[in-house]
Amino acid sequence: MTVMQSQYDQYDQEFLHHIECMELRIPVDETSQKVLGLHARYWRVDDASAVRWIRAIGTATVVSYVEFHRQYAKDFPVPYVVALVELTEGPRLLARLVGIDGNDVSIGMPLKVSFDERGLAFQADLAVTR
């Protein structure tokens, strides 16, 4: 597998460490209460930054999704679904959808965060769907 991604730096390690601890955290400016997207790293270089990793509410909606039919890696048997999800607070990220068939996924579907042996995933938020 060729990876176009670069080496993890401390920013990535912090996010991934939270995931290992079964917490989805997002960067929030405590002064303005503004939530930042996960692409923005500028705040990490300033020791005086008021931006902190805050625990996300854990709900989201589907922006788009794909279903893998070609197996690219041994440890990812197909089919499986990965979605671009928009957290209730605003940031977007990619995440596996679990417990739902690809044919049953739809754009705008409400989701809630879930953790399994691979880490973060999302599942349908049945409380909202109903």
Binding site: V3, M4, S6, D12, L84, L94, L120
Partner: protein, 391 residues
């Protein structure tokens, strides 16, 4: 319309193109450069600029700056490797044109070379984890693998917003296949029906195998020269009248929509402005279409169709042979061959020269050529014409 071109393309050269191993990336680059120099009627000693574009998934050393020494290019006034992923090939032309205007060089050779197809096939070369989230390594952890996944995600968004269907994607693939049937250099020429398309294996839904590019091994080089010298060679000059770039960036926040609103619009507007033309003046297009969806989106982003109308425009046959706006007349990346940005560039040069044979478009007055890198992140375009003046 304004009348003064920015630069001209005076030569083009191909190495062998193959689905088999036929040499190293460096060797193929050398062959293409020598062919381009000969095509332009120049000698090696006439070349005073070299720009290199290597695949973003290739090792740095596959195509080093030492290509200069391989070719015994001496006393260059310009030498660089351009690294903007799929938009690099056209950026080479832009930087060559600007450097020539500034007097750094007179004849700049621009080359792309790649050997993604190995002895065991070419299926894994682009099985990459594309970084879309902002956390390095995240996509790999989520199993978001393969360039096709990133483009499938974008295509699905367009489908949801505008009603684009699998049949629309298939219509684009069929249009490209019709052109490929007329191109001796194309690799996939067998006629394609919508049933064939719908029966092709799903790779990452909603994209099927026939939505994906067809990689080959090979290299293509072009010679960029100043407008005043352009008529001195044996070939009719291909004038560069407009150029633009657009790299929108990602916020990763609500409201951002890099799947359907890209930097291509900015690139196109700049190019039209620099050439003193409008999108309606474009007579044919050569898009960087590594996936079918990219071709549909380009029609909208470059102002050739209204938002959400490209799918029907293609399905109605407008981009196919005999259509109102020929698109990817060599078969493009899907049916011609995938050599990243030099696939559309080379076809643009061939069409402007009137050398397209059976596939030659009737009106080559203004051809839009595009390059796209990342997952719709980086955009570059050129406007090419056989005419010194567009008036």
């Amino acid at each position: 319309m304004k009348s003064t071109p920015i630069a001209a393309i005076s030569g083009i050269g191909f190495s062998k193109l193959s689905r088999q191993p036929i040499g190293t990336t460096r060797e193929l680059a050398g062959a293409a450069v020598l062919a381009a120099i000969a095509d332009a009627g120049l000698k090696i000693s006439d070349i005073d600029g070299l720009l290199i574009n290597r695949s973003p998934v290739a090792d740095f050393e596959e195509l080093p700056l030492r290509l200069q020494n391989d070719l015994q290019l001496r006393d260059l006034g310009l030498l660089a490797a351009i690294d903007s992923e799929g938009s690099s090939a056209l950026q080479m032309i832009q930087y060559a044109a600007m450097s020539i205007k500034q007097g750094l060089a007179k004849n700049v050779v621009c080359v792309f070379s790649d050997t993604p197809v190995k002895a065991n096939g070419g299926g894994d070369a682009f099985a990459i984890a594309m970084p879309l989230t902002g956390i390095e390594g995240w996509e790999l952890q989520q199993g978001f693998l393969g360039a096709s996944a990133a483009y499938a995600l974008a295509a699905r968004r367009h489908m949801a917003l505008y009603g684009t269907t699998s049949e629309h994607l298939g219509a684009y693939a069929i249009s490209c296949r019709k052109w490929a049937a007329l191109n001796p250099q194309a690799f996939l020429k067998k006629p394609l029906t919508i049933d064939d398309y719908l029966a092709s294996p799903m790779v990452v839904a909603p994209l099927r195998m026939l939505d994906c590019c067809y990689p080959v091994n090979g290299a293509i080089a072009v010679i960029v020269t100043g407008v005043s010298q352009a008529g001195e060679g044996p070939r009719a000059p291909v004038y560069v009248h407009g150029m633009g770039q657009g790299h929108r960036g990602r916020s990763g926040m609500r409201g951002d929509a890099p799947e359907v609103h890209t930097g291509a619009q900015q690139a196109g507007e700049q190019a039209y402005r620099s050439a003193g033309v409008q999108s309606a003046d474009v007579t044919a297009c050569q898009f960087y279409d590594a996936f079918s969806y990219v071709g549909l989106l380009a029609l909208e982003e470059y102002g050739l169709c209204k938002r959400g109308e490209a799918a029907d425009f293609v399905a109605d046959g407008n981009t196919a042979p005999g259509g109102t706006l020929p698109v990817n007349t060599g078969g493009g990346h899907l049916s011609g061959f995938y050599l990243q940005g030099v696939t559309p560039l080379s076809e643009g040069v061939i069409q402007v020269r009137g050398a397209g044979g059976e596939r030659q478009v009737e009106n080559n007055d203004l051809i839009l050529v595009t390059g796209t890198g990342g997952c719709l992140d980086y955009h570059t375009c050129l406007l090419l014409s056989p005419h010194l003046s567009l008036e």
